[in-house]
Structures are given as structure tokens and as C-alpha cells.
């Protein structure tokens, strides 16, 4: 064997050796469970001595007929449709506002960033205090204006909205930091060049700032999509999905099915739905936004 091919081969082995730990972890904890989940969704739930047996698409038929599933799915979609744009938009607004102000910027930044540092469980507990009927901060303020008490978390019409507000409160501050960093990397000469051409602040934002923020927007919104399906801690603390599943989200329903009712096969089926949903959203986002994103 000639020497060059020997070196080539050794490099090849080294390369794979370096990759192996990451590959093993990725396979063991991500790919394998995903495949197992899809596999399990075609079997019945093993109970006691009864082994799991192949049931074909029966779990999926159950799913289509499950009213709770449809409600939870619609809750999740509403939750995503509202929290994603609102938290991203709010983050952008706050970043633009903070970016223009020099004095006290550090403090303002810290103030906005605080919700991000807190664990979601803690955030949820703070909001429990805000929402408490009668004694809570919101009702006390309403009371000062002579408005009646509201059971924010107990009313099926309000529970989901109240949960969304908490998520937005937590997410917006986090996303703002990314926008702020991106804004500060835009050279001030661009604004001056535009000012000489007579561009208004709005024109400058629309034609320059916003396009230059597109990579950040893509990054932030992918994160927002994933978080909107992934973060359910506050549902546990605040409503446990109630009342009457009004504030239950897909992931929370999966948890309940798997670890409360121990129907693992049906939980697998629900998980497949979540996987498909997330993959579709992520792909769609990249293809849709990629064309309009400018990477420097």
C-alpha cells in the first residue's frame, strides 16, 4: 500500500473517532427514540401481562375521533399563532426603543432581560399572584376603577389567553436581547447616509433596519416556534390544562396521556403528530424566509 493512501485512511479513522461520541449520543437520545415512537404508534399499549400487539392505524383512528385531541391541537395552534408574532414583534419594538436611548440603557436592558433569567415555573408563580381573583394585582387595579373581579385562570374563555400572556412576557425579553445585539451592529453611517437622502425614520426602518434584521428575525422566530410547542411548565403550575382542557396544549396532553393515564401507545401517536407539525413548520419557515433573508 502506498503512503498517501495510508495517511488518508488514518485521517479518515481519526475523523470518525472524533465524530463517534456525538453520533452515539444523537442516535441514542434523539433518533432512536423518534423511530421507536413512530414504531410504537402502530402497536397497542402493553397492560399487565398483555403484550403490545400490532394494531395498524387503529391508534390514528382513535386520534381522529378524539375530541380532546382536536381541542388541544386547536389550543396549540392558537397559542403558537398568537404568542410567536406578538413576542417577536414586542421584542423588536422594545429593542428599537432601548437602542435609541443611551442613558440608563444598562438598567432598561436588565429589566427586560429579567423574565428570561427566571425559570418558567417561577414566572408562572409570579403571574399566579397577578391573576388571583380578588386579591391579585390585576384585580386590585381593576377594583380601584370599580371593575368586578375576574377569574382569569378559572374561566374557560380566558384561561388560554392568560397562559399566552405569561409566555409572551417571558419570551419577548429574551428575543429583545438578540434584536438589540443586531441593531448595535448596524453602522450609524447608514442612518446618516439615509438622512442626507431625506429618508424618514419609518422609511429607514422599512428599507434598511428591518431587512438587515432578517437573519435575527429568522433565528428568533424558529426559536419561538419551537418554544411555543416545547414550553408547557407554566401550564402545569397555573391551570393543569383546565378548566375542561381550555388551556391544555399538545405537549401537556401527551404528558397526561403517557404518565397519568399510562396509555403509552396513544401518547406515541400524539407525539408523532407533534413531530410532523414541528418539522413542517421548521421547513416551511426556512424555505419561506430564506429567500428574503440577507446574510452579510
Amino acid at each position: 500500500m502506498t503512503r498517501p493512501s495510508l495517511t488518508l485512511r488514518r485521517e479518515w479513522v481519526h475523523g470518525w473517532l472524533l465524530l463517534t461520541p456525538a453520533l452515539v449520543l444523537l442516535f441514542a437520545f434523539t433518533h432512536l427514540p423518534a423511530v421507536t415512537t413512530i414504531w410504537d404508534s402502530f402497536f397497542s399499549t402493553p397492560r399487565g401481562r398483555r403484550e403490545a400487539k400490532f394494531v395498524g392505524l387503529r391508534n390514528y383512528e382513535t386520534l381522529l375521533a378524539d375530541d380532546t385531541f382536536w381541542q388541544v391541537l386547536s389550543n396549540s395552534l392558537w397559542y403558537a399563532a398568537v404568542t410567536i408574532p406578538v413576542s417577536v414583534g414586542l421584542a423588536l419594538l422594545m429593542a428599537l426603543w432601548v437602542d435609541g436611548r443611551l442613558s440608563g440603557r444598562g438598567f432598561v436592558r436588565l429589566a427586560y432581560f429579567a423574565p428570561t433569567v427566571l425559570p418558567l415555573i417561577a414566572v408562572a408563580n409570579i403571574w399566579m399572584f397577578f391573576y388571583t381573583p380578588g386579591f391579585g394585582l390585576i384585580d386590585q387595579i381593576r377594583g380601584a376603577f370599580g371593575l368586578p373581579e375576574v377569574n382569569w385562570l378559572g374561566n374557560p374563555d380566558l384561561a388560554l389567553g392568560s397562559v399566552m400572556v405569561v409566555a409572551i412576557w417571558k419570551e419577548a425579553g429574551f428575543f429583545m436581547i438578540f434584536y438589540l445585539a443586531a441593531l448595535q451592529s448596524i453602522p450609524p453611517q447608514l442612518r446618516e447616509a439615509a438622512a442626507i437622502e431625506g429618508a424618514s425614520r419609518w422609511t429607514f426602518f422599512r428599507r434598511v433596519t428591518f431587512p438587515l434584521l432578517m437573519p435575527t428575525t429568522l433565528f428568533v422566530s424558529v426559536n419561538a416556534v419551537i418554544n411555543s410547542f416545547r414550553m408547557v411548565d407554566h401550564v402545569f403550575v397555573m391551570t393543569e390544562g383546565g378548566p375542561d382542557n381550555a388551556s391544555s396544549l399538545l405537549l401537556f396532553y401527551i404528558y397526561e396521556t403517557a404518565f397519568k393515564y399510562w396509555d403509552t401507545a396513544y401518547a406515541s401517536t400524539l407525539t408523532v403528530v407533534l413531530l410532523v407539525l414541528l418539522s413542517a413548520l421548521a421547513l416551511g419557515q426556512f424555505f419561506l424566509l430564506d429567500k428574503r433573508v440577507h446574510y452579510r
Binding site: P187, Q189, L190, E192, A193, A194, A195, I196, E197, G198, A199, T203, R207, V208, P211, L212, M214, H294, R296
Partner: protein
């Protein structure tokens, strides 16, 4: 369409830091005016005050006779080229150039026509759909220029537009810029710290130092009659030699030497300095001022000879045909009309330099 700019006692301070300290000048219509000075002397600030990007602490800016001191940049009939070019990185060349016209809602047909004209003028036709990151520094420079001239504003302000280019390209752009300014009849105010650039391009040079004007003159006057030792030391490659004078037997001599430079009767201040340009100095066989050669630098056509006259350093630029070596003793001469006298206390030029019989001139045997 030419329009003049005037500043009156313009001042700009940030707290205690004074960047521009009472500057008054006129940039005549259709002329090329250069603001020249070392880094930090207030050139950019002056330009930004004219542009309206900074608010004046005091004084006034007049454009076409109208006071625009408190008006926004787009009310000042100006276009501007930034040192960093300030191109929009997400827009292609055509969109960058058209940015201002779109903001001002110029009709599409007229936009296309003006773009074609400007792109042709600057040789950008084939780059129109590239992004700034996909073209070279020189091409970016042209795009910035294109964005300025498509506006067809009578005034163009430029802040060190060539400093990011390599030497060859800088020379080419210098020629192009000057030609373009002539052709379009633009009133140009151009900032640079490079005296070669300033002298090559300017109709009028304003030398700034510490936020004040040292001299405002055409390039020739600046070179021939520098108003102060600061200007004298700033202009020329290498710059003018400045030597201390002292009263001697036959008149004023270079301190430590005994060759009379100026007659004793001349009415001069207590401390006087002599200025001589390196290129005005020649080597003589006899007479002149004796000096010791310390170092010789070969430049091809010329030699740069570092000497000392009684301890004071001096550079002479002489033709290569005079062989000189380090350590040698030489005699230096220069024409009397090319020596400059300055008041050492203020640095100001002493006009009507006193008459000579000047020994350095009469006894020379080899001319410059």
C-alpha cells in the same frame, strides 16, 4: 447650478472638548475646497456641521447665502460620500445608487435614465445587480460616488473617501474625482489628512489645526508662502526644515553657526526660525553653510541627505549626480528668495523677509 458654502465662526464642543473652534471660510461655488489637517484637528466635525449631521454649538452655516444652521441635512442641497462608504449591505449596486431617488419618489422612468447615465459615467454598468460585499473596495467607492452624484445636488461633501484604497487606485480615483467635479461643476468640500492628495486636487486648501484655521489659500501659495511653521511642516515631502536662528557677528545666523542668513538691522522678533524646503537646498564646493552628513537615502532620481548644522537636523533633497556619504562635511546653499522666516514664539510667518546680501547665495558654485 453652482452654490457656495460659507461658515461663520463655527464652533462645536462636546462638554469641555472643543472639536471646532471658531471657523470661518467660504467654499466658492463650483470649486474644489479641501479641509486638510492631522487626525483629530476637527476636519470631519466641520464637514458634518456643514452636512447638518452635527448641531453647531455656535456660529452659522450658509448655503447659497441662506442660513441653514438649524436645517436638517436634506434641506441643504448636499450629497455626501463617507469614508466607510456607508453602502447598504442588503441592497445591490443599482438599489444603493437609487436609494435617494426612491425616497424622494422620483418617477421610475427618470430613475432608470439617471441610473444609466451615472453607471456609464462611473463604469458600473456590469456590477448593477451585485451586492456591496461582492465588489472590490475601489468599486464600492464608485458606488458611493454614484449615490452622491445621481442626486444632482450642487454640493458634494467627502470625508477621506480614498483612504481605504491602495496607492495605485487612490491615484486613479484622485484624477477621476477631480475631472468629475470639474465636469459637473459641483461645489466640493473634501476632507483629507494627506497633503499630497490635497495639493493634487484642490483649488483651495484650508489647513486646520486644533479646531482652528491655520491657513486658507490655493495650493501654490500654501507651498510657497506657508503662513506658519505648522503649515510649513505639514506640506511637502519631506516637509520644510525649520531651524533656530541666533544673532551673530554679521547678522542673523543659524544657532551655533556663523554664516549670516539675514542682516542684523532687520526688524525681527526676539526669537526667529528659518524655514528651507529640502528641494531648495543644493550642495556647494565652497561657501554656504557647513554641515555634517548623517545619513543618505537613495530615491532614484534624488538623494535625501540627513545633515546637521551645529547640532540642528536638516534634510536636503539633491540630485543623485552629487556623490555624498555619511560622515562627510558638506556646504549647503539655497536661493535667498526660497528661505522663510518665522516668529519662534507664535510660529507665524514674518512677511517681507528682510533684504539680503546673503552670503549663501553669492558664493555658490553649483545651482539647485
Amino acid at each position: 447650478m453652482s452654490v457656495a458654502i460659507e461658515t461663520r465662526d463655527l464652533r462645536k464642543a462636546w462638554g469641555a472638548a472643543v472639536a471646532v473652534d471658531g471657523i470661518s471660510f467660504t467654499a466658492p461655488a463650483g470649486e474644489f475646497t479641501v479641509l486638510l489637517g492631522p487626525s483629530g484637528c476637527g476636519k470631519s466635525t466641520t464637514l458634518r456641521l456643514i452636512a447638518g449631521l452635527e448641531e453647531a454649538t455656535d456660529g452659522a452655516v450658509l448655503i447659497d447665502g441662506a442660513d441653514v444652521t438649524r436645517r436638517p441635512p436634506n434641506d441643504r442641497q448636499i450629497s455626501m460620500v463617507f469614508q466607510s462608504y456607508a453602502l447598504f449591505p442588503h441592497l445591490n449596486v443599482a438599489e444603493n445608487i437609487l436609494f435617494g431617488l426612491k425616497v424622494r419618489r422620483v418617477p421610475a422612468a427618470e430613475r432608470a435614465e439617471r441610473l444609466a447615465r451615472v453607471a456609464g459615467l462611473l463604469g458600473l454598468e456590469r456590477l448593477l445587480d451585485r451586492r456591496p460585499s461582492q465588489i472590490s473596495g475601489g468599486q464600492q467607492q464608485r458606488v458611493a460616488l454614484g449615490r452622491a452624484i445621481i442626486a444632482e445636488k450642487p454640493i458634494c461633501l467627502m470625508d477621506e473617501p480614498l483612504s481605504n484604497l491602495d496607492a495605485k487606485l487612490r491615484h486613479e480615483m484622485r484624477v477621476e474625482l477631480k475631472a468629475l467635479q470639474r465636469k459637473l461643476g459641483i461645489t466640493m468640500v473634501y476632507v483629507t489628512h494627506d497633503q499630497v492628495e490635497a495639493i493634487a486636487m484642490a483649488d483651495r486648501i484650508i489647513v486646520l489645526n486644533g479646531g482652528r484655521i491655520e491657513q486658507n489659500a490655493d495650493p501654490r501659495t500654501l507651498y510657497d508662502k506657508p503662513a506658519s511653521t505648522f503649515v510649513a511642516r505639514f506640506i511637502g515631502t519631506p516637509p520644510m526644515n525649520i531651524l533656530d536662528l541666533a544673532p551673530g557677528d554679521g547678522g542673523w545666523c543659524i544657532a551655533g553657526d556663523r554664516t549670516a542668513i539675514a542682516p542684523p538691522h532687520a526688524a525681527l522678533p526676539d526669537r526667529v526660525q528659518l524655514g528651507v524646503r529640502p528641494e531648495d537646498i543644493a550642495l556647494a564646493d565652497a561657501g554656504g553653510v557647513p554641515a555634517t552628513v548623517e545619513q543618505v537615502e537613495y530615491l532614484g532620481a534624488d538623494l535625501l541627505v540627513d545633515c546637521r548644522i551645529a547640532g540642528q537636523p536638516l534634510v536636503a533633497r539633491v540630485a543623485t549626480r552629487h556623490p555624498v556619504a555619511a560622515g562627510e562635511r558638506v556646504n549647503l546653499i539655497w536661493p535667498a528668495e526660497h528661505q522663510h522666516l518665522f516668529d519662534a514664539a507664535t510660529g507665524a510667518r514674518i512677511e517681507a523677509a528682510p533684504g539680503f546680501p546673503n552670503p549663501t547665495v553669492t558664493s555658490r558654485s553649483a545651482g539647485p
